[in-house]
């Protein structure tokens, strides 16, 4: 598994450098243009989480996948490695984004390091973790071109589901926004942080089980 991790970090070194530079430049632009200091944290974290899931595409390039599985790494090792690699990438990007956000926040004299601010920062990581958790099994299931089509489809499907849900609630006379705010107020900042950690953790476990099942049955 160590070998697979090294391989992915080599790919990051080769392919991810320009991506990170672009992310940083855009983040600087967003900050200068007066966006919230937390936005760059979310932006960088999400861009990197997208990249983490696309390393599977690099493994699929010219059929490399089958060769990788002839190396001393089992299919389970491969799945584990992808999750560990993605976690390291998201965490690393989040820390860089945080450092970046804090510097700008201090320069601007924004109020930071409050519980709410932390909750906001963690929420970006939670979203990134959920995103990677959804993408990894999909990337494993749908190879190459199909994989590229799946991403917009998933986003569209999620949008339709949320919109549909809100609409349905509206029709049923429930004010979802108010209900959500009520719930959040009730559980408080600490509760929200707990939820932001627990939800992605559960999603990640389900995602791992799906990925393992997909790869275990995959024929090359």
């Amino acid at each position: 598994m160590k070998g697979l991790l090294i391989k992915d970090f080599q790919l990051v070194k080769n392919q991810g450098k320009s991506l990170l530079v672009v992310a940083l430049v855009i983040a600087v632009f967003l900050e200068i243009s007066g966006m919230d200091s937390g936005f760059s944290i979310g932006y960088i974290t999400l861009i990197v989480s997208i990249f983490a899931s696309t390393t599977i595409s690099y493994d699929e390039y010219e059929n490399c996948f089958s060769f990788l599985l002839t190396l001393p790494a089992s299919r389970k090792d491969y799945v584990n490695e992808k999750y560990i690699f993605s976690a390291l990438m998201v965490l690393g990007a989040w820390i860089i984004g945080m450092a970046f956000g804090i510097i700008f926040g201090v320069v601007r004299g924004e109020e930071m390091l409050t519980l709410e601010w932390f909750a906001m920062c963690i929420s970006y990581m939670s979203v990134a973790a959920v995103f990677v958790s959804v993408m990894l099994p999909l990337r494993l299931k749908f190879e190459g071109e199909k994989g590229r089509v799946v991403l917009p489809l998933v986003i569209a499907a999620a949008g339709i589901l949320i919109y549909g849900g809100v609409k349905l609630a509206d029709l049923a006379g429930i004010d979802l926004m108010k209900a959500a705010v009520d719930v959040l107020n009730r559980i408080g900042a600490a509760g929200i942080i707990g939820m932001l950690i627990a939800v992605p953790a559960v999603v990640a476990v389900i995602s791992w089980l799906c990925s393992w099942r997909i790869l275990r049955k995959k024929e090359f």
Binding site: L4, N14, Y61, E62, C64, L69
Partner: protein, 283 residues
């Protein structure tokens, strides 16, 4: 070392049913046309596909029982797969070092230098020959006990093929207990390298013979109608109709040379033997 018993796999109309062995210290060749079942057999041995029936056992274990140590004892080359094209050889080095405790970095680098493999260039920019040589170099430099090579010379020019075969010969000379299973549709590669050869056609093994026997005893008898009528058919394996009469494949060419002095008996080249086994008719 490797034992395959009635390995079965079905894809639509194609059914593989393969039985073969690779003994310690032997280079065993698997030869057949494209689509004959060579790659399917290799994939099943390595556990890349699941078998529909039969068994494959390498080091006495089925693919789903392979341990990390088992995989470290294998050197694998797949025809259409290798390291990601987005990596350079320099990037691959630490990966191999982490994967294989027996990885010999100096030898790897020496072989790359000897065969003009660039260290810094991305693999996707390599020529077909460079890619093929890199795959073989990676397979032979970690002290593997068996090499499993699916079409390692496919698409290579004469010089590159010779280079690849040289690397394989050196690998065998280092330790006489090592084995190689190699497939190719270029039979001259196998004629000069293998101890024994399996011929696969339409998913079935149609011939297994020691290379010495194939080269020394197999022959092609060319006869007209009249000669054919008088020919002893006890040692004729296949017959094919030609414009001048018949081509007959025999595994006793000496017998015909001695008893039929007027008949042309050519030495059996593997290509001819394959063509006869596939295109010829049994008597």
């Amino acid at each position: 070392m490797l034992k395959i018993e009635h390995l079965k796999k079905t894809y639509g109309d194609f059914t593989l049913d393969c039985t073969m062995r690779v003994e310690p210290g032997c280079i065993t060749g698997l030869v057949g046309e494209n689509g004959a079942g060579k790659s399917t057999t290799f994939k099943a041995i390595l556990g890349l596909i699941s078998a529909d029936g039969g068994t494959t056992a390498l080091f006495g274990r089925t693919p789903d029982q392979f341990t990390k140590e088992d995989r470290q004892k294998m050197g694998v080359v797949l025809a259409d797969s290798g390291f990601s094209g987005y990596l350079s050889v320099r990037d691959v080095l630490p990966v191999l070092k982490a994967m294989y405790p027996g990885f010999d970095r100096t030898r790897f680098e020496n072989l790359c230098r000897r065969f003009d493999i660039p260290m810094e260039k991305k693999i996707k920019e390599f020529s077909t020959g460079m890619k093929a040589k890199l795959k073989v170099i990676a397979a032979v430099t970690h002290g593997a006990e068996i090499l499993i090579l699916d079409e390692p010379t496919s698409g290579l020019d004469v010089m590159a093929r010779r280079d690849v075969l040289d690397i394989l010969r050196e690998y065998m000379e280092e330790d006489e207990t090592r084995s190689i299973l190699i497939s190719s549709h270029i039979s001259t590669d196998l004629e000069n390298l293998c101890d024994d050869i399996y011929m696969i056609h339409d998913g079935k093994i149609i011939l297994h013979e020691d290379t010495d026997v194939l080269m020394g005893q197999y022959g092609l008898i060319k006869v007209d109608e009249e000669q054919f009528a008088k020919l002893d058919r006890s040692y004729i394996i296949r017959v094919r109709r030609e414009s001048y009469g018949y081509d007959c494949l025999t595994d006793q060419k000496q017998y015909y040379r001695e008893n039929y002095p007027g008949v042309v008996v050519e030495n059996g080249m593997l290509d001819e033997i394959i063509a006869m086994m596939i295109g010829g008719e049994r008597l």
